[in-house]
Amino acid sequence: MGSAASEPGTARHLAPTVDRSVKVLVVGAFGVGKTTLIRAVSEIPMLSTEESITTASVGVDPRRGEKRTTTVAMDFGRVTVGSSTALYLFGTPGQRRFWDLWSGLADGAVGALVMVDTRDLAQSFEVLDQLEEHTRLPITVVVNEFPDSPRHGVDEVRAALDLPAGTPVVAGDVRGRTGAVEALTTLVAHALQRAEGVAA
């Protein structure tokens, strides 16, 4: 993993005024830029941790119900917003065998940033389908523009992905803080709007 191994005791503690926390999931296909986005906003060096998941064993008849526990590495970052709240960003791999992990992680989350690579939109279909199936999270689609990406307009991407009405789509470069913060701001505003809609 790319994150620096830190010894116990060197932890970057939160300010003493911080007593609330929220999280956002950053999901998307392999190599789409999840780690890059998290690193761009995080106030601490990226950390990595392991989560246990139970998966059906590969090559075993699923009807026999054989399962085994595996661990998956997740990287995450943190940014303090305001004086009392810590926002955590968890990067979760999009591969099929990790889908079980999502439902657990989604519990209590503000929402998910779904990163999309327009060079391979098909991979994003699966990720979006699974998010809808396993969670009820508000989402914002982040179109990551690589140098050789075909330039699709935001509306084109929205149509191609068949997104639920009202789902925000933002495009840009998430290697810089501005692009990454914009994606987060859009997601949280969308989540708030949805929360207000539910309350009304």
């Binding site: 503690h13 939160l14 595996t70 305001g82």
Partner: protein, 117 residues
């Protein structure tokens, strides 16, 4: 570990937690904030190396996932150890997360904070 960060889970965790695979309370999430209780009380002599490190690392506020990363143990295992330390009064849970989506006032604060970054 394979290059894609996927590997079999060793039984070691299970042994470390005295044979329990799940924490006694499941309100602990990766983002749950924790801090050592600062009342001068020492851990009992029977406490293990991991418990000591966890309490020491929590001299300031950290989330469960950060704690796990710092001690190089899986979140699920640290959750078990932490819930015992909370029950024993050595660690305090600062934030009790919402069950479903975060409350509106919390979302408003996050949005405000992000806009001021």
């Amino acid at each position: 570990m394979r290059s894609d960060g996927y590997r079999d889970h060793p039984v070691r965790s299970y042994v470390l937690t005295g044979g329990r695979a799940h924490p006694t309370r499941n309100t602990l999430r990766p983002e749950t904030l924790l801090r050592a209780v600062d009342d001068g009380r020492e851990l009992p002599a029977s406490a293990g190396r991991h418990e000591r490190t966890l309490v020491r690392t929590c001299r300031g506020t950290l989330a469960l996932a950060e704690l796990a990363a710092h001690v190089h143990l899986p979140v699920s295992l640290v959750a078990v150890l932490v819930s015992d330390l909370v029950d024993g009064g050595y660690l305090a849970v600062l934030s009790t997360p919402a069950h479903d989506l975060p409350a509106k006032d919390l979302l408003e604060e996050v949005l405000d904070g992000l806009r001021r970054l």
